[in-house]
């Protein structure tokens, strides 16, 4: 059957959109690659009731394409719909450092997912490091799971811009204060202008080197901290693969969407982190607005709420950038691309041979050529060639088997 709306991604944006659309009488399919709804933010939350929504879980969408009368969404089965909502979220942005490929180094989002979604304790003694306000809830989640959090390290310094944004958003300020109090009560130091610049261990993390950073993130004054696990996160990268396949206009790392979540391609909507990282409350509002672009008029209250949350997100983005000094954390032997095991030395050699942009570098030295398709090293590799990180076009958003592809063809031709 063909749906009025296919929603890809069952996080806060997709769940909200699917629920609102069903309530408005639309035939809606909600598709997600994981076995449960919730996405990264609501992992582990009770599975919501989605009356009137066709929920398709465990369906990893590897391609979307325009078809007569709408779109085809290809996973292990194909879903056809008149309108497509892309709500595929984001993953952590990570930076390489010596030892970052040792087991026991986790992304911040991953550490949180292991507690909230998987109900395990990711480590006994942990250091949380990176940049951005997300480090705070991660550290608190870990504390509550019984982890001994030794330090939380924020690479950036407190910014006047952030202070002003918090002053305008009392609920956000209260939330931040609650996290800081919780950390203080557990005597966990929160240090700005610090980072984990190396991880040590034989087969797994046994400790890290912590450095003080100049405002540009150049390290000085090093010391070691014993721990068995590290959580690192330097912001988030929107997962825009499906939007790119359809030719939606991008701005920097995210999909351009108007006030009703319409992209530049007719019939394609986008909501939540794919349209720029702004957090779950913003994703919920945008999920609802996306449905309003199909039926009725967007309520002014929602439009105002979205504008307010987006302004706050912009202030955050400007307050917690990745600064260039991280390159000084690397040694020639540091692995930059984890999949293809490409070291900084190999990247420098390729640059000496004339690879001055990420694509040429990839062809010459192979960073970004492996399984993750540059999702983990893309940011660093772009910066190392002096370019702004930009989304890469991936004709297959997920790996699929030849058998799936064959079955898929049969289904199409049936």
């Amino acid at each position: 059957m063909s749906y009025d709306l296919a929603v890809v991604g069952a996080g806060p944006a997709g769940l909200t959109a699917a629920r609102v659309a069903a309530k408005r009488g639309l035939r809606v399919a909600l598709i997600d690659g994981y076995a449960r709804t919730g996405g990264q933010f609501l992992r582990g939350a009770a599975q919501p009731r989605l009356t009137g929504v066709e929920v398709k879980l465990g369906q990893r969408v590897w391609a979307v394409e325009k078809s007569p009368g709408g779109f085809q969404v290809h996973a292990s089965a194909t879903t056809t719909a008149a309108t497509l909502l892309i709500a595929t979220g984001a993953h952590d942005t990570v930076l390489p450092f010596p030892g970052w490929d040792l087991p026991g180094v986790l992304t911040a989002g991953g550490a949180q997912a292991l507690v909230k979604g998987e109900r395990i304790r990711p480590g006994a003694e942990m250091v949380v490091a990176g940049t951005g306000p997300f480090l705070l809830p991660v550290a608190v989640t870990l504390l509550e799971a019984g982890v001994r959090v030794k330090e939380v390290l924020e690479a950036n310094r407190p910014s006047p811009l952030m202070a002003a944004a918090l002053a305008r958003n009392p609920s956000k300020a209260a939330e931040a204060l609650a996290y800081v109090r919780r950390l203080a009560a557990a005597r966990v130091p929160y240090r700005t202008g610090h980072a984990v610049v190396a991880a040590h261990g034989k087969d797994s993390v046994e400790g890290v080197t912590v450095a003080r950073l100049t405002p540009e993130w150049r390290p000085y004054a090093w010391r070691t901290v014993d721990c068995d696990t590290v959580a690192v996160g330097y912001g988030f990268t929107p997962q825009v693969d499906l939007a790119l396949q359809l030719g939606c206009e991008l701005s920097g790392d995210h999909v351009v969407a108007d006030d009703r979540q319409r992209t530049s391609v007719e019939g394609v909507l986008a909501a939540g982190e794919v349209t720029g990282v702004a957090g779950a409350p913003s994703a919920v509002v945008e999920g609802a607005l996306a449905v309003h672009s199909l039926v009725g008029e967007p309520p002014p209250r929602l439009l105002a709420e979205k504008a307010r949350l987006r302004r706050f997100a912009r202030a955050l983005e400007r307050s917690y950038p990745v600064r260039d000094g991280w390159r000084d954390w690397l040694t020639p032997d540091t692995v930059v691309c984890r999949c293809e095991e490409v070291t900084l030395r190999a990247i420098d050699e390729a640059r000496d041979l004339g690879a001055h942009d990420p694509r040429t570098l990839k062809l010459l030295a192979r960073p970004g050529m492996g399984w993750c398709q540059g999702r983990m090293c893309g940011h660093a590799v772009a910066r190392l060639t002096g370019h702004e990180p930009a989304p890469q076009k991936r004709p297959f958003a997920q790996p699929i088997t030849l058998a799936d592809l064959t079955l898929h063809d049969r289904e199409d031709n049936a």
Binding site: D92, T107, G109, L114, E341
Partner: protein, 78 residues
Amino acid sequence: MIEFRFEGRAISAEEGQSIGAALHAAGIRSWRTTRFGGRPRGLFCAIGACFDCLLTVNGVPDQRACQTVARAGDEVGP
């Protein structure tokens, strides 16, 4: 709780838990080595993006441990 086997060893998992989380919680932090450097690999992003945690489940290779829900009786290996 359910039980699966990793290289012959019995591992317990909660209902709905991923193989990767169950292994990590059991103190097994690495389940494959890299092709060139022979470096250990286990969970890293834990949300299906990095592909570090690949393993073989019931004979099917290259499954993401963090995205594969453990089932009773699964045979898991590198």
